[in-house]
């Protein structure tokens, strides 16, 4: 049996909360679009826009039951804030995207 821990799905901490079901599902379904917008912002050199998007995800992901996703977004936000090399930002965004791909409602 092949073990691939990084491809394990990540579920929301609020998966069992009926109040949250709808907005968690919406959050997860919109996530690929959100990550794509961040990648586009980086490609077109719009670092301000990338930072805004990362900052929003950092602030909200935990609220939807995905604190680790929020931490991954915080690393991108912090990288830009501290003026890190673009390659560092790119690699952090790559990690964020990889983690986001595992997120399930």
């Amino acid at each position: 049996m092949r073990i691939a821990p990084d491809s394990n799905p990540v579920r929301s901490e609020f998966a069992d909360d009926p109040d949250m079901a709808d907005i968690v599902t919406l959050f997860v379904s919109e996530l690929p679009k959100r990550i794509a917008s961040m990648q586009e912002a980086l490609c077109s050199g719009d670092i301000t826009q990338l930072r805004i998007l990362a900052h929003q995800l950092k602030g909200a992901a935990g609220g939807y039951g995905f604190p680790k996703l929020g931490e991954a977004a915080a690393l991108v936000d912090l990288g830009i804030k501290e003026g890190c090399d673009e390659n560092v930002v790119r690699s952090r965004l790559g990690m964020l995207a990889a983690f986001a791909a595992r997120v399930r409602p």
Binding site: M20, D22, I23, F27, Q56, A60, G62, G63, P67
Partner: protein, 307 residues
Amino acid sequence: MTASQGPLPRLLAIDDSELIHRLLRVRLQHEPLEIHGSMDAREGLELARRMVPDVILLDIEMRGMDGFQVLQALKDDVNLQDIPVIFISATASMEDRVRAIDHGAIDFVAKPFEVVELKARVRSALRIHQMVKMLAQKAQVDGLTGLWNRTYFDRRLHQEVSEAVRHGRSVSLVMCDVDGFKRLNDECGHPFGDAVLERVARILQGGRSSDIACRYGGEEFGIILPNTMGTEAVDVAERYRVAIEAETWPGPAGRVITASFGVSDLSLLAGSQGSDDLVASADSALYRAKMNGRNRIEVAPVARPAG
């Protein structure tokens, strides 16, 4: 009246992330709150001016105008400066937290927020707001009669006079003074005098809902009648006069207590049209009512047309 019986307190969230708005709507849905939101700082400020919420949740990092600028604008607006503002921000820096509190925010919640904590902080902010409103109102109410006090009367009359002048409307003032009050106090004691003032206040309060009854001082009352011509004001005063005269009192049977009234209509005044002139003219009409035998109404003289 307890808080739960009145209209729901209104919360306004200003945050540029739709994710946060959705989350707040769901997380606060079972709280006794009416939730409003704006994704734009300027638009949020406009909304705050229009709806005057009971508590504001404010993001710090927003495009165009940040949370600190919004807070400053709120504090600069006399109608909004007392609304408690809770900052919600993903920026955890100690400097920002201190700066937020120093600039007048009541609290600070870090994103991602713990739901129970957020709810508790919102409740706490609402309690404080409620208390501030109550104290502000108490400072304007007369302790004995429960009517508006002199401070409120002066401010409100000034405001009503400016409004009337601006919109070309009328405003009238009725001044009322209990007849022979000093003698009543001397003969029946101060507790009886107080009871008379309370009862007269109750009568003056029972008029039209738009009339503003205030205790002017001692046994003198001022009733502001927005949008009311002098003739109509005389009718109002007459109803008060009759009601006071008809009131029954403890003590010797058949005791009658009366009051005198002076009425003035702003639009009929000569010269300057300030609230001071309105008070002075109503007061001199009241003085004439006293001189002409009490338990009566006198009207301030109508100015002759200029020319």
